[in-house]
Symmetry: C2
Subunit: 162 residues, 2 copies
Protein backbone atom coordinates (compact mmCIF):
# COMPACT_ATOMS: atom_id res chain seq x y z
CA UNK A 1 0.00 0.00 0.00
CA UNK A 2 2.81 2.41 0.91
CA UNK A 3 4.52 1.66 -2.41
CA UNK A 4 1.29 2.66 -4.16
CA UNK A 5 1.20 5.89 -2.18
CA UNK A 6 4.80 6.69 -3.18
CA UNK A 7 4.37 5.90 -6.87
CA UNK A 8 1.07 7.77 -7.03
CA UNK A 9 2.76 10.81 -5.52
CA UNK A 10 5.50 10.63 -8.15
CA UNK A 11 3.19 10.03 -11.11
CA UNK A 12 0.73 12.77 -10.16
CA UNK A 13 3.15 15.62 -9.55
CA UNK A 14 4.76 15.44 -6.11
CA UNK A 15 8.50 16.07 -5.78
CA UNK A 16 9.12 13.83 -2.81
CA UNK A 17 7.55 11.42 -0.38
CA UNK A 18 8.36 11.01 3.30
CA UNK A 19 7.35 7.83 5.10
CA UNK A 20 7.16 7.50 8.88
CA UNK A 21 8.21 3.85 9.07
CA UNK A 22 11.86 3.11 8.24
CA UNK A 23 11.71 0.82 5.20
CA UNK A 24 14.83 0.22 3.10
CA UNK A 25 13.04 -2.15 0.71
CA UNK A 26 10.46 0.53 -0.04
CA UNK A 27 13.22 3.09 -0.66
CA UNK A 28 14.94 0.71 -3.05
CA UNK A 29 11.69 -0.01 -4.90
CA UNK A 30 10.86 3.66 -5.39
CA UNK A 31 14.44 4.55 -6.35
CA UNK A 32 14.32 1.69 -8.84
CA UNK A 33 11.28 3.25 -10.51
CA UNK A 34 13.00 6.65 -10.59
CA UNK A 35 16.13 5.12 -12.20
CA UNK A 36 13.99 3.33 -14.76
CA UNK A 37 11.31 5.93 -15.53
CA UNK A 38 12.99 9.17 -14.46
CA UNK A 39 12.76 11.89 -11.87
CA UNK A 40 13.41 14.00 -10.00
CA UNK A 41 11.56 12.33 -7.13
CA UNK A 42 12.94 11.81 -3.63
CA UNK A 43 11.93 9.18 -1.10
CA UNK A 44 12.84 9.21 2.58
CA UNK A 45 11.68 6.73 5.21
CA UNK A 46 11.99 6.81 8.99
CA UNK A 47 10.73 10.40 9.12
CA UNK A 48 9.24 11.72 12.36
CA UNK A 49 5.79 13.02 11.40
CA UNK A 50 5.49 15.57 14.20
CA UNK A 51 8.84 17.22 13.54
CA UNK A 52 8.31 17.13 9.80
CA UNK A 53 4.91 18.79 10.07
CA UNK A 54 6.09 21.40 12.54
CA UNK A 55 9.17 22.30 10.48
CA UNK A 56 7.42 22.45 7.09
CA UNK A 57 7.34 25.94 5.60
CA UNK A 58 4.24 25.67 3.49
CA UNK A 59 0.62 24.62 3.55
CA UNK A 60 -0.11 21.31 5.28
CA UNK A 61 -3.12 19.35 4.06
CA UNK A 62 -4.25 16.21 5.87
CA UNK A 63 -6.52 13.97 3.81
CA UNK A 64 -9.15 12.28 5.96
CA UNK A 65 -12.73 11.19 5.37
CA UNK A 66 -13.68 13.28 8.41
CA UNK A 67 -12.41 16.56 6.91
CA UNK A 68 -14.15 19.37 5.08
CA UNK A 69 -15.27 18.66 1.52
CA UNK A 70 -12.60 18.89 -1.18
CA UNK A 71 -14.64 21.28 -3.33
CA UNK A 72 -14.93 23.70 -0.42
CA UNK A 73 -11.33 23.38 0.78
CA UNK A 74 -9.51 23.57 -2.54
CA UNK A 75 -9.93 27.32 -3.21
CA UNK A 76 -8.80 28.07 0.35
CA UNK A 77 -5.76 25.81 -0.01
CA UNK A 78 -4.78 27.48 -3.28
CA UNK A 79 -5.09 30.91 -1.70
CA UNK A 80 -3.04 29.86 1.33
CA UNK A 81 -0.35 28.17 -0.77
CA UNK A 82 0.07 31.07 -3.21
CA UNK A 83 1.88 28.74 -5.60
CA UNK A 84 4.29 27.64 -2.87
CA UNK A 85 4.94 24.27 -1.27
CA UNK A 86 2.17 21.97 -0.15
CA UNK A 87 2.59 18.96 2.13
CA UNK A 88 -0.10 16.31 1.83
CA UNK A 89 -0.44 13.97 4.80
CA UNK A 90 -2.15 10.61 4.37
CA UNK A 91 -2.31 7.66 6.70
CA UNK A 92 -3.93 4.31 7.18
CA UNK A 93 -7.02 4.18 9.42
CA UNK A 94 -5.26 5.12 12.68
CA UNK A 95 -3.84 8.62 12.29
CA UNK A 96 -2.82 10.29 15.60
CA UNK A 97 -5.33 12.96 16.65
CA UNK A 98 -2.53 15.53 16.84
CA UNK A 99 -2.23 15.46 13.04
CA UNK A 100 -5.63 17.12 12.77
CA UNK A 101 -4.30 20.06 14.76
CA UNK A 102 -0.92 20.35 13.03
CA UNK A 103 -2.54 20.38 9.58
CA UNK A 104 -3.67 23.69 8.10
CA UNK A 105 -6.52 21.86 6.37
CA UNK A 106 -8.25 18.57 7.05
CA UNK A 107 -9.80 17.60 3.75
CA UNK A 108 -12.18 14.83 2.75
CA UNK A 109 -12.02 13.37 -0.74
CA UNK A 110 -15.50 11.95 -0.10
CA UNK A 111 -16.89 11.65 3.44
CA UNK A 112 -16.80 7.90 2.95
CA UNK A 113 -14.32 5.17 3.81
CA UNK A 114 -12.17 4.26 0.83
CA UNK A 115 -8.42 4.51 0.28
CA UNK A 116 -5.57 6.87 1.09
CA UNK A 117 -4.15 6.11 -2.35
CA UNK A 118 -7.39 7.20 -4.02
CA UNK A 119 -7.66 10.31 -1.86
CA UNK A 120 -4.08 11.31 -2.63
CA UNK A 121 -4.59 10.72 -6.35
CA UNK A 122 -7.74 12.82 -6.63
CA UNK A 123 -6.29 15.57 -4.44
CA UNK A 124 -3.05 15.86 -6.46
CA UNK A 125 -4.97 15.79 -9.73
CA UNK A 126 -7.32 18.53 -8.57
CA UNK A 127 -4.65 20.67 -6.89
CA UNK A 128 -2.41 20.65 -9.94
CA UNK A 129 -5.36 20.78 -12.37
CA UNK A 130 -4.00 17.77 -14.21
CA UNK A 131 -0.58 19.34 -14.88
CA UNK A 132 1.01 15.92 -14.21
CA UNK A 133 -0.01 14.99 -17.75
CA UNK A 134 2.49 17.48 -19.16
CA UNK A 135 5.33 16.73 -16.75
CA UNK A 136 8.53 15.42 -18.35
CA UNK A 137 10.53 13.04 -16.22
CA UNK A 138 14.28 13.14 -16.76
CA UNK A 139 17.17 10.74 -16.54
CA UNK A 140 15.18 7.51 -16.87
CA UNK A 141 16.21 4.54 -18.99
CA UNK A 142 12.80 3.94 -20.57
CA UNK A 143 9.54 5.71 -21.29
CA UNK A 144 6.10 4.43 -22.18
CA UNK A 145 4.75 5.56 -25.50
CA UNK A 146 0.94 5.87 -25.20
CA UNK A 147 -0.95 3.37 -27.33
CA UNK A 148 -4.61 2.61 -27.89
CA UNK A 149 -4.03 -1.15 -28.16
CA UNK A 150 -0.66 -2.43 -27.00
CA UNK A 151 2.34 -1.93 -24.76
CA UNK A 152 5.05 0.30 -26.17
CA UNK A 153 8.12 0.87 -24.02
CA UNK A 154 10.81 3.04 -25.58
CA UNK A 155 14.45 2.79 -24.47
CA UNK A 156 15.86 6.25 -23.94
CA UNK A 157 19.28 7.13 -25.40
CA UNK A 158 21.56 9.82 -24.01
CA UNK A 159 20.08 12.28 -26.51
CA UNK A 160 16.61 12.17 -24.95
CA UNK A 161 17.87 12.30 -21.41
CA UNK A 162 18.90 15.92 -21.06
Amino acid sequence: MTTHVCLTARALGADAVWVVEKDSALERAVKGVVERFGGPFAVKTGVGWRKAMEAFGGVKVHLTMYGEPLDKALPKIREAAKGGRVMVVVGASKVPGEVYGLADFNVAVASQPHSEVAALAVFLDRLGEGAWARRKFKGGRVAISPSARGKVVVPLGAAEEE
Copy 2:
Protein backbone atom coordinates in the same frame (compact mmCIF):
# COMPACT_ATOMS: atom_id res chain seq x y z
CA MET B 1 -5.49 -3.62 -2.30
CA THR B 2 -8.68 -5.11 -3.75
CA THR B 3 -10.66 -3.76 -0.80
CA HIS B 4 -9.30 -0.31 -1.63
CA VAL B 5 -10.38 -0.73 -5.25
CA CYS B 6 -13.90 -1.71 -4.14
CA LEU B 7 -14.33 1.11 -1.63
CA THR B 8 -12.88 3.68 -4.03
CA ALA B 9 -15.36 2.56 -6.65
CA ARG B 10 -18.23 2.99 -4.18
CA ALA B 11 -17.05 6.36 -2.83
CA LEU B 12 -16.39 7.87 -6.24
CA GLY B 13 -19.60 6.99 -7.98
CA ALA B 14 -19.65 3.40 -9.24
CA ASP B 15 -22.77 1.29 -8.72
CA ALA B 16 -21.05 -2.07 -8.42
CA VAL B 17 -17.72 -3.84 -8.44
CA TRP B 18 -16.94 -7.25 -9.89
CA VAL B 19 -13.83 -9.10 -8.78
CA VAL B 20 -12.28 -12.00 -10.68
CA GLU B 21 -11.02 -13.92 -7.66
CA LYS B 22 -13.66 -15.53 -5.43
CA ASP B 23 -13.25 -13.85 -2.05
CA SER B 24 -15.98 -14.16 0.58
CA ALA B 25 -14.07 -12.09 3.14
CA LEU B 26 -13.83 -9.22 0.68
CA GLU B 27 -17.56 -9.46 -0.08
CA ARG B 28 -18.35 -9.34 3.64
CA ALA B 29 -16.04 -6.35 4.17
CA VAL B 30 -17.60 -4.34 1.35
CA LYS B 31 -21.14 -5.29 2.35
CA GLY B 32 -20.26 -4.22 5.90
CA VAL B 33 -19.34 -0.75 4.64
CA VAL B 34 -22.58 -0.55 2.64
CA GLU B 35 -24.64 -1.54 5.70
CA ARG B 36 -22.83 1.03 7.82
CA PHE B 37 -22.46 3.95 5.38
CA GLY B 38 -25.17 3.25 2.83
CA GLY B 39 -25.67 2.25 -0.74
CA PRO B 40 -26.74 1.13 -3.20
CA PHE B 41 -23.48 -0.58 -4.10
CA ALA B 42 -23.13 -4.19 -5.20
CA VAL B 43 -20.09 -6.44 -4.91
CA LYS B 44 -19.61 -9.75 -6.70
CA THR B 45 -16.51 -11.95 -6.60
CA GLY B 46 -15.56 -14.97 -8.66
CA VAL B 47 -16.56 -13.23 -11.90
CA GLY B 48 -15.07 -14.46 -15.18
CA TRP B 49 -13.48 -11.40 -16.76
CA ARG B 50 -13.76 -12.57 -20.37
CA LYS B 51 -17.46 -13.40 -20.17
CA ALA B 52 -18.19 -10.24 -18.20
CA MET B 53 -16.42 -8.03 -20.70
CA GLU B 54 -17.98 -9.77 -23.71
CA ALA B 55 -21.50 -9.58 -22.27
CA PHE B 56 -21.34 -5.97 -21.07
CA GLY B 57 -23.68 -3.65 -22.98
CA GLY B 58 -21.84 -0.40 -22.58
CA VAL B 59 -18.45 1.22 -22.97
CA LYS B 60 -15.51 -0.78 -21.63
CA VAL B 61 -12.51 1.20 -20.40
CA HIS B 62 -9.32 -0.57 -19.37
CA LEU B 63 -7.00 1.54 -17.24
CA THR B 64 -3.35 0.81 -17.99
CA MET B 65 -0.19 2.90 -17.97
CA TYR B 66 0.36 1.75 -21.57
CA GLY B 67 -2.89 3.25 -22.84
CA GLU B 68 -3.70 6.53 -24.54
CA PRO B 69 -3.61 9.66 -22.39
CA LEU B 70 -6.66 10.33 -20.21
CA ASP B 71 -7.09 13.88 -21.51
CA LYS B 72 -7.27 12.58 -25.07
CA ALA B 73 -9.47 9.57 -24.33
CA LEU B 74 -12.04 11.18 -22.05
CA PRO B 75 -14.01 13.13 -24.68
CA LYS B 76 -14.16 10.00 -26.88
CA ILE B 77 -15.35 7.88 -23.97
CA ARG B 78 -18.08 10.40 -23.14
CA GLU B 79 -19.22 10.45 -26.73
CA ALA B 80 -19.25 6.65 -26.95
CA ALA B 81 -21.06 6.24 -23.61
CA LYS B 82 -23.77 8.83 -24.33
CA GLY B 83 -24.62 8.89 -20.62
CA GLY B 84 -25.00 5.11 -20.54
CA ARG B 85 -23.15 2.41 -18.65
CA VAL B 86 -19.37 2.35 -18.38
CA MET B 87 -17.28 -0.61 -17.20
CA VAL B 88 -13.86 0.27 -15.86
CA VAL B 89 -11.35 -2.57 -15.84
CA VAL B 90 -8.31 -2.39 -13.57
CA GLY B 91 -5.80 -5.04 -12.65
CA ALA B 92 -2.56 -5.60 -10.84
CA SER B 93 0.59 -5.64 -12.97
CA LYS B 94 -0.22 -8.79 -14.95
CA VAL B 95 -3.37 -8.15 -16.97
CA PRO B 96 -4.02 -10.73 -19.74
CA GLY B 97 -3.22 -9.31 -23.19
CA GLU B 98 -6.73 -10.17 -24.36
CA VAL B 99 -8.15 -7.44 -22.10
CA TYR B 100 -6.54 -4.80 -24.33
CA GLY B 101 -8.55 -6.12 -27.27
CA LEU B 102 -11.85 -6.58 -25.43
CA ALA B 103 -11.74 -3.03 -24.07
CA ASP B 104 -13.18 -0.21 -26.16
CA PHE B 105 -10.56 2.12 -24.72
CA ASN B 106 -7.18 1.49 -23.12
CA VAL B 107 -6.51 4.58 -21.06
CA ALA B 108 -3.47 5.78 -19.14
CA VAL B 109 -3.90 7.90 -16.03
CA ALA B 110 -0.23 8.88 -16.42
CA SER B 111 2.13 6.82 -18.58
CA GLN B 112 3.99 5.95 -15.40
CA PRO B 113 3.87 3.03 -12.99
CA HIS B 114 1.76 3.82 -9.96
CA SER B 115 -1.44 2.26 -8.63
CA GLU B 116 -4.67 0.82 -9.98
CA VAL B 117 -6.46 2.43 -7.03
CA ALA B 118 -5.10 5.85 -7.98
CA ALA B 119 -5.91 5.35 -11.65
CA LEU B 120 -9.47 4.28 -10.84
CA ALA B 121 -9.94 7.23 -8.51
CA VAL B 122 -8.79 9.87 -10.97
CA PHE B 123 -10.71 8.26 -13.81
CA LEU B 124 -14.00 8.12 -11.89
CA ASP B 125 -13.54 11.67 -10.64
CA ARG B 126 -12.89 12.96 -14.15
CA LEU B 127 -15.58 10.88 -15.85
CA GLY B 128 -18.26 12.00 -13.42
CA GLU B 129 -16.85 15.53 -13.12
CA GLY B 130 -16.81 15.22 -9.36
CA ALA B 131 -20.51 14.36 -9.09
CA TRP B 132 -19.64 11.84 -6.35
CA ALA B 133 -19.48 14.82 -3.98
CA ARG B 134 -23.23 15.33 -4.33
CA ARG B 135 -24.20 11.67 -4.15
CA LYS B 136 -26.45 10.72 -1.24
CA PHE B 137 -25.99 7.20 0.06
CA LYS B 138 -29.10 5.61 1.49
CA GLY B 139 -29.94 3.05 4.14
CA GLY B 140 -26.72 3.35 6.19
CA ARG B 141 -26.56 3.44 9.96
CA VAL B 142 -24.11 6.35 10.20
CA ALA B 143 -22.81 9.28 8.18
CA ILE B 144 -19.74 11.44 8.55
CA SER B 145 -20.40 15.11 9.07
CA PRO B 146 -17.56 17.08 7.45
CA SER B 147 -15.41 18.96 9.93
CA ALA B 148 -12.34 21.17 9.65
CA ARG B 149 -10.81 19.85 12.88
CA GLY B 150 -12.30 16.69 14.31
CA LYS B 151 -14.16 13.47 13.67
CA VAL B 152 -17.92 13.76 13.59
CA VAL B 153 -19.90 10.59 12.96
CA VAL B 154 -23.66 10.99 13.01
CA PRO B 155 -25.98 8.05 13.77
CA LEU B 156 -28.82 7.96 11.29
CA GLY B 157 -32.37 7.48 12.53
CA ALA B 158 -35.19 6.05 10.50
CA ALA B 159 -36.21 9.58 9.50
CA GLU B 160 -33.02 10.20 7.58
CA GLU B 161 -32.97 6.82 5.94
CA GLU B 162 -35.70 7.19 3.39
